[in-house]
């Protein structure tokens, strides 16, 4: 019986992540639908200004200032505010990735040069990314963005590598509709 415990725990963990994902998708579905046209317009307007938004949210500069210059009441308020922003940013990153993945699936269905092994690898990576993204949302929700910025940075570095591979694949399957999945996180300049 005790041998089954790790599997039981893993199963419960996966179920929890899946349940969280479904619940989150249902709760934020209407928001996503409303926001999509605005985001599309703004992407064309100021891609550069959006690039550092993740770094802006997870950065320590503001926290250092708040920590040294303000009372504890303000520090708690800052943590709450940044947690909300960090969660919104992570959800958007996940949503953008999902949009590109859906676009890829639609194109891949019509492609004659489909490589099954690569597609399976891509699908597994995508599922892994979703799982990690949902875990990050949980961690940020529990601990706040300041304490989780290292783990968020590492995970998104991995996601950036996947993104590069994904972009190459998209270009091969359908060059016309090839789009870059933006995580809006400048990994090179993040101070851990």
């Amino acid at each position: 019986m005790s041998q089954l415990l790790p599997y039981l725990f893993l199963g419960l963990l996966l179920s929890a992540v899946l349940a969280w994902w479904v619940w989150d998708a249902i709760v934020h579905r209407s928001t996503a639908e409303v926001l999509t046209p605005r985001q599309h317009r703004s992407t064309a307007r100021s891609v550069g200004s959006q690039r550092d938004l993740g770094e802006r949210i997870f950065g320590t500069e503001d926290w250092d200032f708040v920590l040294h210059e303000t009372p504890s009441e303000i520090q708690r308020m800052f943590q709450r505010e940044r947690t909300v922003l960090a969660l919104a940013w992570l959800r958007r990153t996940r949503r953008q990735t999902s949009q590109v993945m859906r676009a890829h699936v639609a194109v891949a269905r019509q492609s004659e040069d489909l490589q099954i092994v690569v597609e399976i690898k891509l699908a597994l990576n995508y599922l892994l990314f979703l799982g990690l993204c949902n875990s990050l949302i949980g961690w940020v929700w529990l601990l706040g963005p300041v304490r989780t910025r290292k783990i968020v940075g590492h995970t998104l570095q991995w996601a950036a590598r996947q993104r590069a591979a994904f972009a190459q694949l998209m270009a091969r399957v359908d060059p016309a509709s090839c789009r870059v999945v933006g995580t809006n996180f400048n990994h090179g300049t993040v101070r851990n």
Binding site: Q39, D62, E69, T70
Partner: protein, 152 residues
């Protein structure tokens, strides 16, 4: 290709707006508030008589919208400390009592109307959150001053 002629058209108007109007205002936050207050909330169009006279209403409105977005982008990316300084400059430029100003802005959420129409949702959230924080921090700085003033 489609954007190029439109940018060329509004560029002189943007330069004129920057040189004659915006440069006279103390800081980016003042410029942001000025541009937001020149916008008709019902239509989203901006109005500036002088600029419309020299160019056209349409060009003037587009130039103002562009400057509004650029200033907003700059303010989204400044640190909280810099934003507090910007806000402090703006408060002093209004000649209002800082305490009254802060109370009013906090309760009415007046800063919400300063967001440009063509704006990324998350950028807007970051900006609103930072202004909310800046107001709260400025209020805590105000408290000891008013206490001293009262005791004096």
């Amino acid at each position: 290709m489609g954007l190029e002629p439109r940018n060329i058209d509004i560029e002189p108007a943007v330069t004129d707006l920057r040189n004659r109007t915006l440069s006279r205002l103390p800081g980016d936050f003042s410029r942001l508030v000025y541009l937001a207050s020149s916008r008709d909330c019902n239509t989203g169009r901006y109005f500036h008589d002088g600029l419309a006279f020299h160019f056209s209403q349409n060009v003037a409105s587009k130039a103002m919208a562009l400057c509004h977005s650029q200033i907003f982008d700059r303010l989204v990316n400044v640190s909280l400390e810099e934003l507090i300084e910007e806000l402090r400059n703006y408060i002093f430029s209004t000649d209002e009592q800082p305490e009254e100003f802060l109370k009013s802005w906090k309760h009415l959420g007046s800063y919400r109307v300063t967001i440009p129409s063509e704006c990324d949702e998350l950028e807007a959230e970051v900006f609103l959150s930072n202004v909310k924080m800046a107001l709260a921090i400025l209020q805590t700085h105000q408290k000891p001053v008013s206490h001293d003033e009262q005791s004096a």
